[in-house]
Assembly symmetry: C2
Homo-oligomer: 299 residues x 2
């Protein structure tokens, strides 16, 4: 009976919490890398929390995952080889495999226990012949590999002190990513919420990408189960996602036989890269904020 009325509290700041009614706690444990909670909530279905930060909710994960993948993959004229760092839940993979240009996807996630936990939902995508799953540190994988990718997707948990993704948000790491991208390659990263109290780290991610890549574009969506707006960034060597015409986007979607999208389409892409003036001003006021291995930032 006690569990019936349990709530999970999302800590926004010490002065703001969002409470969600819990239907059932499915998993609550420490893995070798992080604290994992898998909780069925009343309003949002099953939700995965890593180190107390929500990663996805069944009900609206399509918003995050479609935006993480499709603007980036559509911007590349023919993405064949894609690397995902993180993304062990398999949702980003599901979206990548919708592009029939893609011949090979490598997923590198550090936490086998998370991947296994999600296998009931998304195990089938890892069975696809085009997919190779590697358990390990994404940064080490990228340093060591001789492979070159068309698109690299950083589907990471938020950087928290002693968390597994701290050194995957730094200038040094983005430089490694750049080296492992083809001449016309691009990367995409979930870039944390642009809303307080995360705005500074969001801006720092943007600045750090700008330090390494010639083209960096931010975009946003409100994700109900996160209770806030979320940010993404595409960093690109040649193609600017904002320069695609509606016609080009639609041609690529059709040519690649992409179907069943719930959130992304050509008009959305065209309106995606607008930044409100207050955020633009804050970016201009914080131009020197860069994330380095020696000075990582934590949410």
């Amino acid at each position: 009976m006690a569990k019936k009325n349990k709530w999970i509290a999302d800590h926004i700041t010490d002065n703001e919490y969002h409470l969600y009614k819990v239907k059932k706690v499915l998993v609550d444990k420490e893995t070798d890398y992080q604290h994992v909670k898998f909780i069925e909530t009343k309003d949002y279905g099953k939700c995965l929390y890593l180190n107390d930060h929500i990663q996805f909710a069944e009900k609206d994960e399509y918003i995050y995952h479609e935006l993480l993948i499709h603007p980036a993959l559509i911007t590349h004229p023919e993405p064949k080889k894609v690397l995902v760092i993180g993304g062990g839940d398999g949702f980003a993979l599901r979206e990548i495999l919708k592009h029939n240009t893609v011949k090979e996807v490598i997923v590198v996630d550090i936490d086998m226990q998370v991947v296994e936990l999600m296998s009931e939902l998304n195990g089938k995508y890892f069975q696809d012949k085009r997919v190779k799953m590697i358990y390990g540190d994404g940064r080490k994988y990228l340093e060591d590999t001789s492979e070159i990718y068309d698109v690299i997707v950083l589907d990471l948990s938020e950087p928290v002190k002693d968390g597994p993704s701290n050194l995957l948000f730094t200038k040094e790491f983005y430089n490694i990513v750049k080296k492992k991208l083809s001449k016309i390659g691009l990367m995409v990263v979930q870039a944390i919420s642009p809303i307080h109290p995360y705005r500074k780290i969001h801006i720092a991610i943007y600045n750090t990408l700008c330090y390494i890549f010639p083209i960096v574009k931010l975009f946003y969506a409100y994700i109900p189960s996160y209770g806030t707006e979320w940010g993404f960034a595409i960093a690109s060597k040649k193609y600017d996602p904002e320069n695609l015409t509606k016609d080009e986007i639609e041609k690529r979607l059709t040519k690649r036989y992409i179907k069943g999208l719930k959130y992304y389409y050509s008009d959305l892409h065209k309106g995606l890269f607008t930044i409100p003036k207050d955020l633009l001003n804050d970016i201009n006021l914080n131009k020197k904020l860069i994330i380095t291995d020696k000075k990582p930032l934590f949410v």
Copy 2:
């Protein structure tokens, strides 16, 4: 001491609450028309609640009020005469007065006690020679007046059972608004959150406007103190806000000497009218949902 740790709970659904730490309760009373709370919160400054729905927070009210006013007023080539129904807090008025084309603004609010409560913050805008304040029922005012307006702004509290704004969201009312607009006039309305549990009423507002006006455009912004994304709609007789070029927007902003905007600018306007696919689909699935005097809808 007790008040020090008090929280105000924003009821999203029975399964979701957002909690904000209260610094000080400034006002908590029933007026003749509604329950008014004026509360200073730790993170968002002073916040006004009408019938337990947040109306504004000092810290981020500029987002709501700039979006309510500027896309609509910029779409009109020369707005001279503007009517505000609701908006007794004076913030919408502050934004309207930034357009130097405006020669006359009538504000009709039913609740004198709210206007008086806000006078310390915004009383100065009501002192402007161009402004006339009328206390009364907005619908009755509009039915009785022989005046014709360039722009009509509906800055209303959410429709709640027995609340003061129920009959200001209906087909019959929008028809009265249309009659009191000039041939090239337009109206703008805060159109509730498009996110559950409000999505149906948001769609119903859109459908109802489409029933009366030839051009209706939706747009959105995430407002941190609301803890959700918020919707707006422009309903227009002649000019489509989406057809303005960046150049035209900038020319109008310059020509009208508009300065000090924190959120709105030409690029934002250009990217504003994109609707995600899931919402488009829900609109298409609910085409018959119309709000009438006999069948009002409540949040």
